[in-house]
Symmetry: C2
Subunit: 333 residues, 2 copies
């Protein structure tokens, strides 16, 4: 059996830089026609010029058949001129991190609804930019996404022509808010579709499943599966694949991030198939994103076949989801 | 300032065996007059003879001024004769582990309320034994203690003369059940008084705070603090200190257990003092347990003074709570 996907897209991807970029980027470009590249490098990617340089480094690794959709780190540096320059260069995404909520977010925003930010939202709206939000507060870990909802709703209501993406939705209670505004959409990761706190800490603690926002309750996973398996047009795939060296995961201060790049499409195919939802996979990974973000990915036909895929124990020192295990779908060469 | 405690007791303690026993037991016997020793060795401590042998090994390390209150692993081996032999030898405790819920519980009980177990509960009751229960099911990790409550209540109701201890209470919803039966009591750990899921996985993931039952929500911690800080006579201290080598914590399959033995009394003193509850510390660590369990601990005066206690980075390869940090109370020599 073969599964054919036309230009699948990963709308939330961490590629890092340097040797790590060279290590992990080919794993994504082998499966996807395009990906939204997160800007939380150290220092973050703030300007059009920095984003274009970063894009060139990615293209040098992945070639021209893979489109890295660059995003700018949200902040006071997003002046009218900077936004105009971004648009001019074909960059339409900005990523807002509340300060301190995840890896490399120290330079994120502390007072999200301050006057200065409202002006930036206005400029982004006027320019037809897209605002991607890591939608968590600094509150109790299981309530962070939920307690961010009033802020999300405030932005959505006040900037109705601004396309807003709630990234890596983890909480069932977020879904109806994302669905209720014409200008709001969401990305959903593989790991939030697959796992709950039971998988992270129900038997042995598994640091490789530790991420932000953390995996949550069975009812959250079920609700996310419902929208993904139905091909709901408000939601699309964003892996949030985030490589950390094994030594940064298996330690006393484990960094947040799940590395799923090597297995993204095979694991999605297996999950959707196991739940009788294979017919919706294309909506979730191919069709919804271009419509939501208003872009055309490069033509790229990706084929999976039903055959055993033995996932490597490590990819250059990084441990993937399903490391050392096998999946039932494999990417065709 | 000095704090004097008369015969403090740790009513839930893992000492392991061999080199680990030699490493960790002196840390507890330096602070406590008596401790309930958990039987989940590999293989578990099932018979009176095994418990007496284990007790002798503990006494060889700790000396005679420390009373190891031995417990037998609950199971079908608890015949009427075995129970009589235990009583004869001064062993009054048995620990029930549901199968698979925590470290070394593979030989635990699968059908807790089966006819055979009901007969054992009856014999334990007739013999005046005490039943200590790891009160968790194998359900979703945050609901395991709560979903065990019907089983706990069933045993408490049907064996009203059997003293039953709910070990390491972690869920606020358990407290009223423990309080509502004359024959039920609870132990509370240091780490469940100090931490929530936020501490385990709110910023970096900290494997040294991973335990069963896992630390839970702020409302759970607050409720546990309320009963501990009030000196509530239904509850007493049980550290559940459980040593694992650093290499078994900082890895891909982190074992469950928090090692708090080196800091137990200093950390309790600091916590109770910070919440204006120092006057209740003696009830929690000294007075409640002898009354609940009906035993007399050895006379042992333990003094703490208000001085900086620098906690070691490791104790023989085991990482303690507050490792590398300092506390404001220290044990007097």
């Amino acid at each position: 059996m073969t599964l054919t996907l036309n230009s699948p897209c990963d709308m939330h991807l961490h590629l890092r830089d340097g040797a790590m970029l060279e290590n992990v980027a080919p794993l994504s470009s082998a499966q996807f026609a395009a990906a939204v590249i997160m800007p939380n490098l150290l220092p973050p990617v703030c300007t059009t010029s920095e984003a274009l340089d970063y894009q060139a480094r990615i293209r040098a690794v992945c070639g021209e058949s893979f489109l890295p959709l660059m995003s700018l780190f949200f902040g006071a540096h997003l002046t009218k001129d900077e936004i105009a320059a971004a648009k001019q260069a074909g960059i339409r995404l900005t990523k807002l991190y509340p300060q301190g909520v995840t890896t490399n977010s120290d330079k994120g925003v502390s007072a999200i609804l301050c006057e200065q930010n409202l002006q930036i939202f206005e400029m982004l709206q006027d320019a037809g930019m897209i605002l991607c939000i890591h939608s968590e507060t600094n509150g109790f870990v299981l309530e962070r996404e939920h307690s961010f909802l009033p802020i999300f709703v405030e932005i959505a209501r006040n900037f109705p022509r601004l396309t807003i993406i709630m990234e890596h939705i983890s909480d069932a209670r977020s879904l109806k808010f994302v669905e209720s505004f014409p200008n709001t959409f969401g990305t959903i990761t593989l790991h939030h579709l697959l796992f709950t706190l039971d998988d992270l800490l129900g038997s042995a603690l598994n640091p490789h499943l530790f991420c932000k926002p953390c995996v949550k309750l069975p009812r959250d996973m079920r609700a996310l599966r419902r929208v993904a398996f139905s091909g709901n047009p408000k939601f699309c795939f964003g892996s949030d694949s985030a490589p950390h060296l094994r030594t940064h995961k298996e330690c006393a201060q484990c960094g947040a991030g799940v590395f799923s790049a090597p297995v993204a499409l095979p694991a999605l195919a297996e999950l959707f198939e196991n739940h009788g939802a294979l017919q919706s996979l294309s909506a979730f990974v191919c069709e919804n994103a271009p419509r939501i973000y208003g872009f055309t990915p490069p033509q790229k036909v990706v084929r999976l076949r039903k055959a055993r895929f033995d996932v490597a124990a490590e990819y250059g020192g990084v441990v993937s989801l399903f490391a050392g295990k096998s999946l039932s779908w494999i990417l065709c060469d």
